[in-house]
Structures are given as C-alpha cells and as structure tokens.
C-alpha cells in the first residue's frame, strides 16, 4: 500500500502532469506527420529524458507513444498515408470513409477504440506482469533463445503475403544485427573498417529508412497529389461513436485482446497487432464484402489492437527485459539509465516507481480523449497542406532525426541504404516488419545461443533439458510445422468429404 501511495505521489505532481500534457501534444504532432513514427517520437524524446526524474521520463515516453499511435490515424484518414506503421492495416478503410465525408466520425471512433484498447492492455500489464515475473525468474539463456526465436518465427507466419518474402525480409534484418563486434570473440563483422559500425547498426535509422524514406520515394515516383477528401465537414467527432461501439463491441474486445497478446510477444508490435486484428475481424465479419470500401468494423478491430499492443509490449519488456516492439527496445535503455533494471526483479525492487509506471499508463490513455479531440478538430491542415509541400519537410525531419540518434552521419548513410533497399523490396511486396524484428531480436538470439552453447559444451540437446525451455522449443517447432499440419488436415478433410452423402 505504501508503494502504491508513493507511486501516486510520483505521478500526481505538477512536473509529471505538465510533462504528460506536453508529451501528448508532441505525440500528436509526431504521429500525425507521415514518416515520423511513434518509435521516432520516443527516440527523439530520449535526449530530453536524460534531464528528467524517472517518473516524468517514463510518463513522457508512454504518453508520446500512445498519442502517436492514435495520431497516426489522422494522416492515414485524410491523405491515405499512415502517420505510423501501426495505422497501415486500416488506412485504406479509413481513407475511403473520409472520401465519403466521414473523416471526423472515423477518427472519433478510432480515438475511443484506441483509448479502450490502451486501457485494456494496461489492465493486463498491471495484473499479469507480476505473476509472469515469477515465472521469468526461472529463465536462463536457453529460454531467452527460444523466446527470441518464437518472436522471429511469429513475424514470418503472421505476416501478410508470401512467406518466402517475409523470410527473406527477416534475413535482411538478421544480417544487419550481425554488424559490429562479435560478443564472444570481439571480432569485427561487416564493419568495413568504419569505427561507427563497431557498436552495430542502430535500428532507428533503419526504421526511418524502411518506412519513411521508402514512402517518400514512392511519392516522388508517382504523380498522385492525393487530395480527394471533401474540405467541408458535415459529420461530428463523437456523435456516431456510441452507435458503432454498441454494434461492434465484440470487435472492440477481440481487437484489444489480440492486440495485447501480440504486443506481448517479443518482437511483434502494434503494427502486427493491427494487421492480425484487421484480418481476424474481416474473416469473422458478416459484411466481409464491405471491407475495403470504407467499413467501420475493421477500424474498430484494428485501432483498438494497436494501442492495446503498445501496452502489451511492455509486458515482456518489464518482465524479461526483452523488447515487445521497437518502442520498448528504446524504453529498456531508458529504464536502465534511470536505474530501473528491467527483468523479474523490477517488481520487487521497483517500489513506488513500478506503481507510478502503471498509473502513468492509465493517465496517458485517458488524456488521449481531450487532446485527441482537439487534434481531430484541427486536422484540416492535412487537407489544406498539399503533399508537395509536406513531403520535403518530412524528408528533412528524417535526415535530422537519423543523425540525432548518435550524432553521426553514418546513421544517415544507414537510413539511405536501408531505405533504398526497402523501396525495391516493398515495391515487390516484401513485408518490412520482419526485417525490423530481425534487427531488434537478432542480437538476443545469437548472444543467448552462444552463451548456451558455452555452458553446455556444444550440446544442442541442452536446449530441451529444462521444462520451460523444452515447452518454448516445442512451441517454436509447432509454429514451423503448422503450415504442413494445416495442409495435411485440409487434404484429410478433402478425402473425407466426398464419402458423406
């Protein structure tokens, strides 16, 4: 109880509340600018958090990321360009609705679903994380290896499109993760004599390249100026929301649950959560044909999933110290910096700080409503600002944003190279998410594999010698075999059905 009261005092003071409000506005700005992702918003915040106490620092990150994920829907709805990758799943649906003059209604529904999803994910974080931490205390390098492999495997099997392309995309990310000094021997790998590469490839410039530069190159490669949303609004922000939520409350709950679950998978994040929820919603909908023509049902599923995924991603980050997504990968660094070492012991040693973190999550999701409403009301700027003016500004933000990570021009080169490669790959339907996850989880996978091999004198069977490790290993193998099993099952059903009269 003392720890809880301590947590309340840490959050409800002028400095923290001011930081939350400022972070919410910053999150709206970054999320609403296409090309600037929620991850970039958090990355840009890191230098500022150096000068903050732990609670405001974490509050700033949580609020910014939650707001940015919602705000990503704004340019998606008006311009058909997702502000963040998490909005990509339903951008077509939202834009179609905007073209019908229902932009504000769509964004109002997005906002309420995002808030609900965020609160749902937070409840799971609060109630499930401490019990998970007790299990996590049993984890060693064997379990972490399987966990990383599980995340990577999921990124292929839940990706949209051909699995071979998802696999190759993952390999690109894994290759990038091997750049730098080898953990065991200290030998430099793929560094080409460049000192900046000795520490490895930072994933933020890679992400800017893969998502923003890729989008910019696509824009300049087309002649589409894309203003086809009516400039006069006849719809209202919240007037239709109760009706939509009353009709699609199952979708809201399903999207939030799926989002939290996928967010909690190491390596998967809000964008994958949104894709899966959208696909799931479509497959179970009675109005499947309406999808793609501007159907609010898909938006309810996916927009609740991406915000709940954001909270869900904190579960593995806090419990295992493994990033649930790219944002929590940065967060882990900030937590270490602030003396809150992520891992099972955080719930024992964290004291009031851990409660403060939970409270911050609730406030960040609640403040989304008023700030989001103001953002929706002022979003007309996207209709009024032509893309030919907006896009060059975004490019400049990308250049400076990539440079700002390590204050080195090498990161700008990395953004350029990865962005150009991503442009070629994306034009040929390669998904980008597995590459990012490969880069984020590659180091964890390799380092834990090497540690385990050292401990067991090279015995591969040791990966199955511990109960949790064996269970996780079985799960990974099951995921790999799933396509074969499904095919065999379908063939079996096919041979059975003609016999039935």
């Amino acid at each position: 109880m003392d720890a809880f009261l301590q947590g309340l005092a840490l959050v409800f003071n002028f400095q923290t509340l001011l930081v939350i409000a400022a972070a919410a506005i910053f999150g709206v700005f970054v999320g609403a600018v296409p090309g600037l992702t929620a991850t970039m918003a958090v990355a840009l915040l890191v230098p500022i958090t150096f000068y903050m106490d732990p609670t405001p620092a974490i509050a700033a990150i949580v609020t910014t990321s939650a707001m940015a994920i919602f705000a990503g829907d704004i340019p998606g709805t008006y311009l058909n360009i997702p502000g963040t990758p998490a909005s990509a799943a339903y951008v077509g649906e939202a834009h179609q609705l905007a073209r019908q003059g229902r932009a504000r209604e769509t964004l109002g529904t997005n906002l309420v679903c995002s808030m609900f999803g965020g609160l749902f994910g937070t409840l799971v974080l609060v109630f499930v994380s401490p019990s998970l931490a007790e299990v996590a205390l049993q984890f060693s390098s064997y379990e972490y290896f399987w966990l990383a492999l599980l995340g990577l495997s999921c990124s292929i099997f839940i990706s949209i499109g051909p699995k071979t392309k998802a696999f190759l995309s993952l390999m690109v990310g894994l290759l990038l993760s091997t750049v730098g000094l080898d953990m065991m021997s200290g030998a430099p790998r793929f560094t080409f004599g460049i000192p900046d590469l000795m520490a490895g490839v930072n994933f933020i410039p890679v992400m800017i390249g893969m998502f923003a530069l890729n989008e910019l190159m696509s824009f300049y490669g087309s002649r589409n100026e894309g203003r086809n949303v009516p400039a006069v609004h006849k719809d209202k922000v919240f007037s239709s929301v109760p009706q939509h939520l009353g009709r699609y409350w199952r979708n809201l709950l399903r999207g939030s649950s799926i989002g939290t679950l996928i967010g909690a998978l190491p390596g998967a994040g809000a964008d994958i959560a949104a894709w899966i929820s959208y696909a799931m919603g479509k497959s179970r909908s009675k109005n499947r044909d309406a999808y793609g023509t501007g159907h609010i049902e898909g938006i309810v599923d996916a927009s609740s999933a991406n915000n709940s995924g954001l909270s869900g991603a904190w579960v593995p980050a806090l419990v295992f110290g493994i990033p649930g997504d790219s944002i929590t990968a940065i967060v882990i660094g900030v937590l270490y910096m602030k003396g809150m070492n992520p891992g099972p012991t955080i719930f024992m040693d964290g004291g009031g700080l851990i409660y403060a973190l939970f409270i911050v999550f609730f406030i960040a999701n609640l403040i989304m409503l008023p700030i989001g409403y103001i953002a929706i009301r002022s979003a007309k700027v996207f209709i009024l600002t032509p893309r030919k003016i907006l896009m060059p500004i975004i490019l400049c933000f990308c250049i400076v944003g990539a440079f700002a990570i390590n204050n080195t021009i090498t990161d700008v080169w990395i953004m350029l190279i990865t962005g150009s490669v991503a442009f070629i790959l994306a034009r040929n339907d390669f998904p980008m998410a597995p590459a990012i996850l490969g880069l984020v989880l590659g180091g964890t996978l390799e380092n834990n594999f090497m540690s385990s091999m050292l401990k067991s004198n090279g015995d591969l069977l040791s990966f199955f010698s511990r109960p949790i490790s064996a269970g996780l290993g079985a799960m990974v193998i099951l995921i790999w075999l799933l396509p074969v099993l499904v095919r065999l099952y379908r063939r079996y059903r096919g041979t059975q059905s003609p016999r039935t009269p």
């Binding site: 300049y220 030919k388 003016i389 250049i399 700008v412």
Partner: protein, 155 residues
Amino acid sequence: MKDFLLGLAFIVAGAIVYVVAQGFPTMSSLQYGPSLFPSLIGGGFMLGGLVLAIGHIGALKGVAHGITWRMDREQLRNMLLSLLPALAIVFYILASDWLGALLCLAAIMFVLMLARRTPLWIALGVSIVAALVIDLAFSRYLLIPLPEGLLGVWG
C-alpha cells in the same frame, strides 16, 4: 520476372555473405565462432532466393517466347523522380559539413518542392521557414550538434 531476378539477387548476396563470413577469426577454444550466424543467414538468403526464383521460373518462358520487359518514358521519368529523396540525402551527407545543416535542409526542400511544381515564392518561403524551425528545434532545444557550416564561420 522481377521476383525471379530478386531471387537470383538474394542467392548472390547469400553467397557473398557466406564467403565473407568464412574469413571471420574463430578462437580454438570455441566450437562456434563469429562466423556461425552470418553463415546461417547467408544460407538463408540462398535458400529463400532459390525458392523465390524457382517459384517464378515461369517468367523465363515469356523471355524465351520473345516477351521483353520495356520501360516507357513515363515509367523511366517516375523511376528517376523516385530517386530524388535519396539524392537529396546524398547531397546532405556530402555538403552539410561545408554548407551547414540549415542551408542544406533549405536547399533540399526548395528543390524537392520545385520538382513537384510548387510556385517559386511558396517553395522559397516554406523552405526557409521550415529549415529554420527544424534547425532551431534540433540544435537549440534537443542539443543535437547539427553542422553549422558557412553560417558558423560567419558567426
């Protein structure tokens, strides 16, 4: 055809990664050295590339029957225009130390806006104001040491 060629490109890239990885030093006390993961990734590239190429091998039949892949003027123009942002980044990398971030960013925005036929005065005004805002926000507020270039020399 594109997927077939991409498959081949991945096979070649995988082979290069594998060969380079064999050159990484391995300590005698370690069973698995720094070359293990890069070699596996190289193998993954080759395997995935092979599957992709084989899956689209039908495209070769089109080539055999005289169907060639041509790019018309519109496509060529669009492809060259799509390289503009990449060229702008190369310009920033090469010129920012000398010109400074502020001037480079302004020049990049100005040229890119003109490329999409923005009126000259609007392009000029927006480029200067946006470059000033970005430079101010990053170098003064976020304390990022953006290169000052010529403007730094002049104080």
